[in-house]
């Protein structure tokens, strides 16, 4: 039963001082699924992401990640880099690339971060280092092709457009060979054409690479088109779960959105 899950989140509570950011959140993410978490601003979506990736440490509850070969791994208490090594990749709300480096270098850093370090080898550029470099280069080019950034490989990443930055972040995440890719508002700041391409890319990641997708998004159109199942967060709690059609029909969700911004609620309809 559990083997078909990728994330199993049980009763997670996260506090900052007296402020409760997540309260008793439970959710599950099936392997191979495109799952979305929606909710108004400040509902705790990014807190949830940061808890799933080891950036925040929730005080209560458990987060189990079923990694390679469905091996269960407890996320809470793990550092962010360990979570990444276990097979969780992510993008950030406001893109966080290594902005002074080229597109190629950005992805390559992701591709090579999981191998042992080998400083001495690097200092003499030994055969193992050369082999590693060659492998990372090949993998990087493959991924740049996959996301469609091959022609911008040598561009400094800070000068990429918003849409390209998202692609870059996705490629960098994929370079770490993840089981699941967490996307934090991938459509923010992109134009309609880029949005369509992004939707296609995300689907392609799941279909061709078999990577499960968990995304947070404000853009309802994109979510409804892409997600197979949704969770709705409000004030740090899960208030609804279901398929896009079920969510559209859910009164509590409409209520939550009417309480925040009408335009979002309009989109929901």
């Amino acid at each position: 039963m559990t083997s078909d899950l990728i994330f199993d989140v049980q009763n997670v509570t996260l506090r900052f001082g007296g402020v409760i950011s997540l309260s008793d959140v439970s959710l599950n993410h099936k392997r191979g699924e495109i799952l979305a978490v929606i909710g108004p601003n400040g509902a705790g979506k990014t807190s949830l992401f940061n808890s799933l990736t080891g950036v925040y440490q929730p005080q209560e509850g458990s987060i189990t990640f079923f990694g390679r070969n469905a091996k269960p791994i407890s996320i809470i208490g793990k550092k962010a880099h360990r979570v990444s090594t276990a097979g969780v990749a992510r993008t950030f709300q406001a893109s966080r690339m290594f902005s002074a480096l080229t597109t190629f270098e950005n992805v390559k850093i992701g591709a090579e971060s999981h191998r042992g370090i080998g400083v001495l080898g690097a200092m003499v550029k030994g055969p193992a280092t050369r082999r590693g470099e060659k492998m990372s280069d090949a993998r990087t080019i493959e991924l740049l092709d996959f996301v469609g950034l091959r022609d911008k490989a040598n561009t400094i990443s800070a000068s990429l457009s918003y849409g390209d930055r998202r692609r870059l972040e996705i490629a960098r995440g994929l370079a770490t060979n993840p089981q699941v890719l967490l996307l934090d508002e991938p459509a923010a700041g992109t134009n309609p054409a880029e949005k369509i391409q992004l939707t296609q890319l995300i689907r392609k990641v799941r279909d061709e690479m078999g990577v499960s997708i968990l995304l947070i998004e404000h853009d309802m159109k994109l979510v409804m088109a892409l997600a197979e199942r949704l969770y709705v967060l409000n004030f740090g709690s899960v208030i609804a779960e279901g398929t896009p059609d079920e969510i559209r029909a859910n009164a509590a969700v409409v209520e939550a959105y009417l309480g925040s911004t009408t335009s979002d609620a309009e989109e929901l309809k």
């Binding site: 990749a89 480096l101 370090i117 590693g132 770490t176």
Partner: protein, 448 residues
């Protein structure tokens, strides 16, 4: 009235020129003392001086002339600056493009290396031969080492001297020159001190680094500052171990007996020069390979955005500790050279001033740029040796740190990426200034 005067851009430029030159006048003037605190200041302005060899006059006249000249050049640059600048860059475009090409870089590097090896035969003055080791080669080595910490990993280490001291005291220890007996009571040849000093300095780097490198950058600076100071306190007070302020006993010179090769380093500086130069070359090659390896890229990633780096599986602490240990190892080796060459070591040689001195070499040359720090170190240390060799009137050796301090401020205002900037670093600074990137978060921990 003063405010409105200050708002006039011409008057402002004139004012700044005069004040800047007046400060320079003070810096180059004769020293004062506490009995007559104003004497140094007064004489800085009033002392007789030659007006560019034309006639004799008071210093302030000369400097006032320089200030006016500075104002004139500044105004000219503002007026026609863009044209002059574009002219200069078009003239420089060809050599700059050439310098990017690999064969050219290798050629220049090789030529410099040959020159470096010939140097003791070109310059045979004993002062300069000693300076080549003690003031230049060793400092180049140290600058390359600190560059790994400050330039590559972006960690402001103000306690670099600690590892240098550890290297020097390890040498004294293994050769039996400390009150505490050497390991296994064997008096080693200082040659064996090289691996041991490098190892112990690295170990110290790891021990200090593992807990403190979690701290944000500005706190780390203060902690390393304190650590450098504490090493001096221990060296000064642990009489039974270090010999206290009296210093160590005489340290023997290294000798090499490798099969048919027998060589004894003596009091002459030249053999030490070659020894140091060899290591400089080794470290240069190793560190530039490192910079362009995955380790170097990981350092860049951490420096730019630690959170993003972690999200792709880079363990920041591990890489930072590694940078610290690698930097420490070069300082440790430099300590061996200094100890075995100077014969005796004292706690008073290992001061905070030393750490800052090395930092200036890195900042001036261009942090993160290996060629830059080598050039920076060569320029500053050669200038320092010149001042030591034939000090101009009014100059005291300790004044050096005043100039170095001023140089740091000037570099940060006008050329923060250094004389020969690393391209990555320059880009980072520019991006950070335009609000891109997350460099500050890493430094001050202002995570949102």
């Amino acid at each position: 009235m003063i405010a409105s005067f200050w708002r006039n851009p011409h008057a402002r430029r004139l004012g700044i020129s005069i004040v800047a030159i007046a400060v320079l006048e003070l810096m180059t003037g004769p020293p004062g003392n506490s009995e007559a605190p104003t004497a140094g200041i007064r004489e800085s302005f009033l002392e007789a001086s030659s007006f560019f060899g034309l006639f004799r006059t008071a210093r302030w006249v000369v400097f006032f002339f320089v200030a006016i000249l500075m104002f004139a050049i500044w105004t000219l640059l503002l007026w026609k600056g863009s044209r002059i600048r574009s002219g200069i860059s078009s003239v420089l475009a060809a050599p700059r493009a050439a310098s990017q090409r690999r064969p050219v870089r290798w050629g220049v590097g090789l030529a410099l290396l040959v020159l470096a090896f010939m140097m003791p035969h070109i310059e045979t003055d004993p002062f300069w031969q000693a300076a080549m080791v003690e003031q230049i080669a060793v400092y180049v080595l140290l600058a390359i080492g600190l560059n790994v910490v400050v330039g590559f990993a972006g960690l402001l280490d103000l306690g670099f001297v600690a590892f240098y001291a550890i290297g020097a005291y390890t040498t004294a220890w293994v050769t039996g020159a400390l009150p505490t007996p050497p390991p296994f009571h064997i008096h080693f040849n200082p040659f064996f001190a090289i691996p041991m000093a490098i190892g112990i300095a690295m170990l110290a780097g790891i021990i200090l680094g593992a807990p403190t490198l979690r701290l944000r950058g500005d706190y780390l600076a203060i902690v390393t500052l304190g650590f450098g100071e504490i090493i001096t306190i221990f060296a000064n007070n642990l009489y039974g171990i270090t010999g206290g302020s009296q210093g160590s006993n005489p340290i023997p010179h290294p000798s090499l007996h490798l099969g048919p090769i027998h060589y004894v380093w003596g009091l002459k500086p030249v053999p030490y020069y070659y020894l140091t130069l060899t290591f400089v070359v080794i470290f240069l090659v190793a560190f530039s390979l490192l910079e362009h390896s995955r380790v170097g890229r990981a350092w860049t990633a951490i420096r730019e955005d630690e959170v993003a780096a972690e999200s792709v599986g880079i363990n920041p602490l591990k890489y930072k500790v590694m940078a610290f240990a690698i930097g420490a190892s070069t300082a440790g080796f430099a300590g061996v050279v200094t100890a075995s060459q100077s014969n005796q070591i004292f706690p008073s040689s290992f001061t905070l001033q030393f750490s800052i001195n090395i930092l200036v070499l890195v900042i001036f040359g261009g942090m993160g740029s290996i060629a830059g720090v080598v050039i920076g170190a060569l320029i500053i240390q050669t200038a320092y040796s010149f001042l030591l060799h034939s000090p101009p009137q009014g100059y005291q050796p300790a004044d050096l740190y005043m100039y170095l301090g001023a140089l740091l401020v000037i570099m940060m205002i006008f050329r923060p990426a250094g004389l020969v900037p690393s391209r990555r670093r320059k880009r980072e600074i520019r991006l950070s200034e335009s609000g891109e990137g997350h460099m500050d978060e890493v430094l001050t921990g202002d995570t949102p």
